[in-house]
């Protein structure tokens, strides 16, 4: 707790310095500005050595007296002010809660400070990079999604939780999974299987796949939140468990794999803590439908958005790997995509009993 207090004081000081700067500028009748590191494609690079995406040095000015930036400027300090309060009382809260805490109507207009959480989340990320404080240091945590079961015991805030005994439910992965909150206890797990969707996770849990295979079964509800990514990264680096990723056969699924492995543009400043460069892609591969004889009627036609996304992804420098390109190009030329569930056309438990075991046995995966 002592460390936490010190960190909190540091963070508080950073926020206060930022605000004081603005007050000074205003006093001098100058248009107040913030300097925000850019979280865009143009300002990230792929570190080939570390095999992760890293944030560059580009920054962006954000002025209050600029019609396009005024609202964001105001929002930044609204969020900063709320974080200051959290830090002072030593509480944490979710970013969703922060959205609710800071959302209200402006004066007697019909405009709100925020209309959607989609608006406040990027402001939090901006604040993180601007004052150089991670989300946790701002006493915030991400929305939680994601469940885990498997042959392991974890110690969560002092409670010992046996992930072998979670019934049909599973353990909800918290947002903050740093070692001071979550510690790993005894485990017999041989690897980590991260699946894209809860529905698939439930299938694997019902079939007790993790028990047979002795693996940690985790999902992130689509694009996995920080907590899940960090936990997977910790299991990989601390417990030396290989990580396998199972996603839908569509550009969004494959992108999830790339984020797990190398990090994302948006959170490039966290890649060091999040990315699992050794993560492996087990499917669904664009070549699986043919290889596993999936009936044509399980296919979904790709739409314009899908094709556009593939094109975009192929232009990312970290998608240069030949195997990855093959995967995406085959997807585009098939003009079809497949849910993981398409495999159930070959039998409800085909995926857990045949598909995945065979893939792992044959080492039929991408790296």
């Amino acid at each position: 707790m002592a460390t936490r207090d010190v960190t909190a004081k540091k963070t508080l000081a950073k926020i206060e310095a930022l605000a004081k700067g603005v007050v000074q500028e205003v006093k001098k009748r100058k248009n107040p500005r913030l300097v925000v590191p850019l979280r865009t494609l143009s300002n990230v690079q792929f570190n080939a050595k570390k095999k992760i995406i890293e944030l560059g040095a580009d920054k962006q000015e954000r002025a209050f007296f600029n019609v396009a930036q005024a609202k964001k400027f105001m929002q930044t300090f609204l969020v900063a002010s709320a974080c200051k309060e959290l830090l002072e009382v030593g509480k944490t809260t979710s970013i969703r809660d922060l959205y609710y805490m800071t959302k209200h109507t402006l004066g007697d207009t019909r405009q709100n400070t925020f209309d959607e959480q989609d608006e406040s989340d990027p402001i939090i990320e901006d604040l993180e990079v601007t004052v150089d404080a991670l989300r946790e240091e701002l006493h915030l945590f991400a929305n939680r999604k994601g469940l885990m079961v498997g042959p392991m015991t974890v110690i969560d805030s002092g409670d010992t939780i046996d992930l072998r005994r979670q019934g049909s439910g599973g353990w909800g992965v918290p947002s903050i999974v740093e070692p001071n909150v979550i510690r790993f206890g005894k485990t017999e797990a041989k690897y980590v299987l991260l699946v894209e969707k809860e529905a698939v996770w439930s299938r694997f849990n019902e079939d007790k796949y993790w028990k047979k295979e002795q693996c940690m079964l985790i999902h992130g509800g689509g694009q996995p939140p920080r907590g899940v990514r960090r936990l997977v990264q910790r299991m990989h680096s601390e417990l030396k468990l290989p990580v396998y990723v199972l996603v839908d056969n569509d550009p969004w699924g494959f992108y999830i794999y790339s984020v797990i492995k190398q990090g994302s543009i948006n959170l490039a400043y966290e890649s060091m803590r999040m990315a699992v460069p050794g993560a492996r892609f087990v499917g669904i591969s664009s070549f699986d439908p043919e290889r596993y004889r999936l009936p044509d009627e399980t296919a979904i036609r790709m739409d314009d958005g899908d094709h556009k996304r593939i094109k975009q992804m192929l232009e990312y420098p970290w998608f240069e790997k030949k195997q990855w390109r093959r995967e995406l190009e085959a997807m585009a030329s098939n003009n079809k995509k497949y849910e993981i569930e398409a495999l159930s056309r070959r039998g409800i438990s085909f995926i857990t009993e045949e598909y995945l075991p065979k893939k792992l046995r044959d080492r039929d995966f991408l790296e």
């Binding site: 603005v22 205003v26 209050f64 007296f65 005024a70 002010s81 207009t109 405009q111």
Partner: protein, 605 residues
């Protein structure tokens, strides 16, 4: 292939027997719609208009400030008959001329000379008389007196339509109190119920284009309308000119030569045309390769010589015609006119749609506010202005609404040798709807044109102007849309109308081009005005955005740093004003605003 058997054969001889001369009165009696008598509704207005045109022309020519009384009387027992009477204080008409003027088509003093006047054909009033005669059988009555102490006469005149000659039915000496003047009265089949709105519009617009006119309008079943004289200054007089050589064609040149009293072509050129001095005549002859001694009669007889001379004329630079043959309305009057129309339109926007040839139905019971004198107008203007920010140049405050008003007068130009001049006035703003077609007022030689808008060259020129450039909406091939009124006046020694009824102007390219140039000139000024307003509105919008967030930002900064919230807020507010154009923005928008309470756009807009 062989022609089929003819069924019945009329030979050339048989057909020759049927050939006959057609008199011009027969022709127009049958084609009365060409003269503006296609319906009982229009007949009423056409009759009044022809009589008023004549009176105003005569007064102008004799230097009298006109004093007119128009009267419409119902005929007892006949709902479709009315008596129209127009009385003036003009110079009167010499008795001997009365029959031909009122009883013969194509007779008059204005056709053969080049001078700007309202009438020009010698058809109008006799056509009205003929229409009255055909529809009611009654002759036209004329009272006239040419000067103090001279006898006054009353004549009843009929038109022999077969021959186009007048027949005098009665001729008596009468007493008239006034020193001089003419009254014309005729009965005709008419529809006053439907026609009155056109009459009212005509009367209003005529008064506006002729501020030196005092007019009384006596109507059935309603109070008289009295329009006092608004100006004792008569309009600038238009002088008669000779034709300009550049507009003369070969055949006409030969005809003029035939009729010329000058024996040599050099004198002929100098005396029969305008802007031809001795030097110019020499240059023409030189360019034509003709001798200075060429005789006029040779020219009249030899087409080849005439062709050469014409080419010589075209090859010679000759000064444009003198402008003193034209009498434009003038900027000041056009602006006053627009202001006055706007007052009426604002009041009756829903009641008086754009006029079309076919009315959709009678509109009765329209209330009329007499047009104010310029003194009264001035007083009103000043009062309204006192409560408000002083208007920018081009802005006018009318009944508390702000309008932007500009006008443009083109220099005189020539088509087919006829000098003409275009004037345009434009009014924009007020409370008019943004999504309605603009109002268009057309005038030719100070006469308002109320019908056949669609067939008129003026309308065409307005439609073919790209108003989008000037910040207005405009559907393809249509009039622009927006809160705007246009007044277009064409003054010319010879206005080309699309028909004898003089309701629409023909599409002569030279005319259309000038109208467009004048419209563009006004359009550019309008665009500058609108853009300035838009820029100010944009600054205000920016400011309101900043102001929206200032409170919130000040609180956050206060909560984080402890800095005084009101102080921070105050600094931010001052900054916001500075950055968004300061006082200037306020002022421009204050001027725009009709209602100061609604001045500031809020985020709901």
């Amino acid at each position: 292939e062989a022609p089929a058997k003819p069924r019945r054969k009329a030979t050339a001889e048989q057909m020759a027997q049927r050939q006959r001369e057609i008199s011009v009165s027969e022709f127009f009696a049958k084609n009365r719609h060409l003269l503006g008598f296609d319906s009982p509704t229009k007949a009423l207005l056409t009759t009044v208009k022809e009589a008023v045109d004549n009176s105003l022309d005569a007064c102008e020519e004799s230097g009298i400030l006109p004093d007119l009384t128009i009267e419409i009387r119902a005929v007892p027992g006949a709902s479709d008959r009315f008596v129209v009477s127009v009385e003036d204080n003009g110079p009167g008409i010499v008795k001997a001329q009365v029959p031909k003027i009122f009883g013969k088509l194509l007779y008059g003093s204005k056709f053969h000379r080049l001078k700007q006047s309202r009438g020009q054909q010698g058809i109008g009033i006799s056509a009205a008389a003929m229409y009255g005669q055909i529809t009611t059988g009654k002759p036209v009555q004329v009272w006239t007196k040419t000067g103090k102490g001279r006898p006054a006469h009353r004549l009843e005149v009929q038109l022999d339509t077969r021959k186009n000659v007048p027949v005098v039915l009665s001729d008596t000496e009468v007493d008239l109190e006034k020193d001089h003047g003419t009254t014309v009265e005729l009965e005709l089949q008419a529809d006053y119920g439907r026609g009155q709105r056109y009459l009212l519009r005509y009367v209003e617009q005529t008064v506006l284009a002729n501020p030196h006119l005092a007019l009384t309008f006596l109507r059935p079943g309603a109070d008289p309308l009295v329009f006092p004289r608004a100006s004792t200054e008569p309009p600038k007089e238009a002088l008669e000119i000779k034709p300009h050589p550049h507009g003369v064609e070969v055949g006409t040149l030969m005809l003029m030569a035939t009729e010329s009293k000058y024996r040599d072509v050099r004198s002929f050129l100098q005396n029969s045309f305008s802007r031809v001095s001795g030097g110019v005549a020499d240059e023409i002859l030189g360019n034509a390769g003709l001798k200075r001694t060429l005789r006029t009669q040779q020219l009249a007889d030899d087409r080849e010589l005439a062709e050469k001379l014409r080419q010589g004329i075209l090859d010679t630079r000759i000064m444009a015609p003198s402008t003193n043959c034209l009498s434009p309305i003038g900027d000041e009057l056009i602006r006053q006119g627009l202001i006055s129309f706007l007052s009426v339109v604002e009041e009756e926007a829903e009641e008086l749609p754009q006029l079309e040839l076919l009315e959709k139905g009678a509109r009765r019971g329209r209330k009329k506010a007499p047009v104010k004198t310029s003194e009264e107008k001035q007083a009103e203007l000043e009062k309204a202005a006192a409560d408000a920010v002083p208007p920018e140049p081009g802005e006018e405050i009318i009944k508390g609404k702000k309008f932007f008003i500009v006008s443009s007068t083109r220099p005189p130009k020539v088509y087919r040798g006829n000098p003409f001049q275009v004037e345009v006035g434009l009014a924009y703003g007020g409370d008019w709807p943004q999504d309605k077609t603009i109002e268009l007022y057309r005038f030719a030689n100070r006469v308002p044109l109320l019908f056949q808008r669609g067939a008129c060259g003026v309308t065409d020129a307005v439609m073919k102007t790209d108003w989008k450039k000037y910040e207005l909406q405009q559907p393809r091939g249509a009039l622009p849309v927006g809160p705007m009124a246009l007044l277009v006046h064409i003054a010319s020694v010879w206005v080309p109308f699309t028909s004898e009824s003089k309701e629409a102007i023909a599409h002569y390219p030279e005319l259309l081009a000038e109208i467009r140039l004048a419209l563009q000139d006004c359009g550019r000024k309008l665009a500058a005005f609108i853009r300035k307003r838009k820029a100010a509105a944009y600054e205000l919008k920016r400011r309101s955005i900043f102001e929206l967030y200032i409170d919130e930002l000040a609180r956050s900064l206060h909560e984080i740093t402890g800095a005084d919230r009101e102080k921070v807020k105050g600094d931010l507010v001052v900054l916001a004003r500075e950055i968004t154009g300061g006082e200037e923005t306020d002022e421009i928008l204050d001027r725009v605003a009709s209602n100061p309470k609604k001045r500031r756009p809020t985020d709901e807009e």
